[in-house]
Subunit: 249 residues, 6 copies
């Protein structure tokens, strides 16, 4: 009970599979995509729904922005019995060949957050479960959705920590090399939650993955809110169904 302090949920409220968008509002949109759904709770940035998608029990819990809020949701969901957590996020791409509206499936994340370092030393990997990666790939393939597979940088700052100037044009020397270096290292995109989720998954032994819709193309300076969000939700829903199918075997 103490454990579900922030989420406002009780044991039995959530099934095995939980989708985790950052945004409160996307939690509703995900729930609406299912065959049936009902609200569980709404506290702080944690909006939760449960429902059924093509016969599979599923829940959605928004994480809010960033690792600190995400880790709280993860800790409490594990206490409640969840064991497969998939982030369903939006993102900014930093490679040329990724278009606004495309989908990015994260194989592993660069830990540029603070939270994961309180759980594990630098060097510990924020890698996605290969089963979740496979399920997301299979979902995207079967839906005919354009997707990219690779490394995601999870940062604690939307502006300066993603190489964007801060207020008044603030741009310290180190932030100028950020995007060029990550591009060279084949990082596909920036977002703010995956590294925390994936580090905790490895430490605690649950399955996790992350899939993102590209709202921003940082190289071409393009931005379309909600671009690809519909595909994103379809891919996430289908991946849950596929994982459930595999788990049944």
């Amino acid at each position: 009970e103490g454990r579900a302090y922030h989420l406002g949920l009780r044991k039995g409220d959530v099934p095995k599979y939980v989708l985790m968008p950052g945004e409160v509002e996307r939690a509703s949109r995900i729930a609406s995509s299912w065959d049936r759904s009902w609200r569980l709770a709404q506290r702080r940035e944690y909006s939760s729904f449960r429902g059924v998608y093509r016969g599979v029990d599923v829940a959605v819990v928004s994480t809010g922005i960033g690792g600190p809020a995400t880790a709280i949701a993860v800790e409490e969901l594990l206490e409640l019995g969840a064991d497969t957590l998939i982030r369903v996020g939006s993102t900014g791409a930093i490679q040329d060949d990724i278009e606004v509206g495309d989908i990015i499936i994260t194989t592993a994340a660069v830990r540029m957050d603070g939270t994961s370092y309180q759980y594990a030393p630098a060097g510990y990997p924020a890698s996605a479960s290969y089963e979740v990666i496979m399920a997301l790939v299979e979902a995207a393939e079967s839906l005919g959705v354009r997707y990219h597979l690779g490394i995601t940088a999870s940062t604690d700052s939307f502006y300066v920590g993603q190489g964007r100037p801060g207020y008044g044009g603030y741009m310290p020397s180190w932030s100028r090399n950020l995007v060029p270096d990550l591009r060279q290292m084949r990082v596909l995109n920036f977002e703010m939650e995956s590294a925390t989720l994936l580090t905790l998954a490895n430490i605690y032994g649950f399955r996790a993955g992350a899939v993102h819709a590209v709202y921003a193309q940082r190289v071409k300076d393009e931005f379309v809110a909600h671009a690809g969000e519909e595909n994103l939700i379809k891919v996430a829903d289908e991946a849950v169904r596929i994982l459930h199918e595999w788990d049944e075997v």
Copy 2:
């Protein structure tokens, strides 16, 4: 406009003084404490109201949990013209003489977040504005509220990063020294947003401070939700009025 992307606010929406609770729900409670108030927007973890408290124009914007979400709110509020930001939070105390329901006024924060490091190197101080400290002290004194003044540790993790065991009792070696060391260093309390706010305040040159209600007494293992929250809000409101008075001179 791009800048207020996350908050959903426009230029002119906010006055000079903005109160910043972590919780969406506390934003409403703060707005209700004023003479008049009206909702500005509600997006993600960002709930905003504007109003008038004893003749002073004031706004409240919730930050969500953690530095990443807080920094976004700060960046966007500065673009909108705010220049005095006061965190109005809840906290866990780690010193014996602090009681549940007491108020803690932060003079400076230990940067155990990730966000502030993307803005400034280790060593840069997350110190509160002395004017905001004075206004908070004067408010607490005049209201006869029991308060403590000192250093706050801002961490990115509610469980392991505050010396609490994580899921399944996870407790790596470094987390065992955390609370004893901080206690020796005269740190009063844990929370998750002040270091980011105060670091950005020093970099960008705006005024900021932080005041907290003690919900948890970690030494005695006591917890009362909302303990002292009413006093907390009164102190914050009054501090704004006092600052406004000083600013008029």
Copy 3:
């Protein structure tokens, strides 16, 4: 040509798939397991053979011990056209349920090496390719070999850096928490090359993975040289065949 300086190999010498044991001697044993094989070169710790395994062109190149020697082999093999590199190593297990002679398939590695930090900042993930993981799992399953799947710690020191006392019992304070902390973080085993290989794979965009035979059980203080080596080689060979099959599709 300058590139293959250390390995003593020329363009065309190696096919797509290369197995990479640490030990010079295991390179021969791997080559002997194929249908046909011939020596390519023998320089320093780099012993190389080419051959055919169940119709698939394959090579083996020993890396020597540690990241520095491994990175040289990787850099030069990429220049020569290889694109799927699988470490075939021996290891020490630190979890109770792993037996001497078992096989460990690495999903990602803890970067406790020095080399990977000269290529990428702390936080960049040393994760294996999910295709290589799947192929190794499928190979182990089909061969009926007992295996474990999880996180591997790659360290630069066989003694002190694996929590073993050094010469004269040298055991500095930090080395005493090493094994207990890694065990808590669900790390399965220690070895000395995977983190470097997997970090370079993500940076350079080639496929890589790692599979190990458990020679040492550190919890029970058991050690059997070459335990499981035969199974290890079979699993690695089969994984190449499976990957080749998938690649053909």
Copy 4:
């Protein structure tokens, strides 16, 4: 007694309030500014005087250059019963609008020293007491002295660590970004003792602050030895008197 080993002072020798210049010679000049004064001791870089300024008991102890020598003085003064320590230093300004001869009142310091890291981890704040800040501001205002209020960088190196070329023009890559980055972060000035003093003040719970006279204007490359020193001493003396007045209430 062991405690006052370096200073050569005994219990009872010092009152509550102690001024702390870096320079031995400034200690005498400060003592001369009082109504009465007498030498306490002279050992190494520690020159100490006691006296009376406008009815207030006060002492001065020089710290020598840098955090290591300053921390020794602080540790020993606390043992002797002092509880309000104010650095009275000289400095180099790095912002355009600060003139040679101006006064800088430090609100908090960037910890670029080594000493404070042996007392507290990176992230712990080197913030001045708000009461000392207020007293210094009030003193400067009442004396009509031109002053600036803000963040001070405390470094362990007068040459390379302040962005000046070392012997033979030594200028490693990182030292080239030093001044531009600190300027962007709104740091006012460089000196070499405040971060140590202010970190220890927060750890040990005593009051501390720092005030500096601008001898060097680094942007315009101007330098006038002793510029503003007289004002500096007046402001420091007056601040002690004001603090004493407040303490009496």
Copy 5:
């Protein structure tokens, strides 16, 4: 016995003095330079010979490339009773006045390896024994070999970690300052084993040193394999003889 696991040597196999080339092949060339020699063992990258040079009992054990493999050799040789270890390596020079074929005698090494950090914190010195330095200098002088004396950088990466572009031209921002900064700091050369050897020597209290033949001139982009190797071996052999002579006194 467990201790000599990797080297395949037994107590009594090695004398006090052991030469340590990186390369297996150089071990043979060194052994051939003695009056008599015989192979001890050949395992992995560890090729060992024993022999007699001008009446002095001496051994050679190759270390393989890098600190991880070197530390294993050192740990096991100490168990076997060796107490004077001299690296006999090849290197790339980064100062203008050093020619291909020259000899470099290392006074101390920059720890850019990973291994030494698992033995000792940053800041612990990788300095050579002054007796070994003296013996190497005297040997070079008496042989009339052109040599340089100074600081060596020991890195874990032959390509990116020595400022050379990696595969596909990979050159992250930090690697561009590497050579210019080290040149300014008067570092003579790059190689990959000395820092580990010299750090362990200080921790364990044995004598160690390092001497290198310059195969690559990085400033002029010249490379001649084996340049100076004959002189290198002569200097190393003579240094052992000189040390033995001094030890006899």
Copy 6:
């Protein structure tokens, strides 16, 4: 001229050889030990004398306590033409077999200062010149003084940074392992200046060394002020004479 700002010295004032005690008072005692001597200057912690010892031109300049003050002295002495700098300090021993009054000759220092990190990255060695080591050893031998040769830890804090409790018994967790770890690493003693001096010597290419008299035996908790100081000064003086003799050849 700007360069000798702190020392108050001019070109021509100092010869090649300069002795550098920490303490102002020891500078006089050293000068008194020569055949003739005269004061050069006295500013802040910098007390300087010149003189002649057994026919050799020599100077002494006190450094004050700690790296920050020491680096200033070094920078300015190099500008003035000095090229052989020997620290002549007092110290606390942490190994059992070292007695109060013994002499310690430093071969290299552990960089636990802050200053050297502003000049060179972690890993750069603070090693003494082998010529200075030899001269100090020869001096101690010829004088029949009991001495120890080895690694010295140079720290920025006399209390907490040497494992002594700070004010009020302050003893954070990390300080408890400090002495046991350094003892295991064969560190002989603590002092506060050598690491800075020796790092700068390697960067700038001048000769340097350090010799200390043991005032404190930390293991046995013994302390005798000035124990061995006379021997210390004799050894330092003689070492200068010996170096001069060698330089003449």
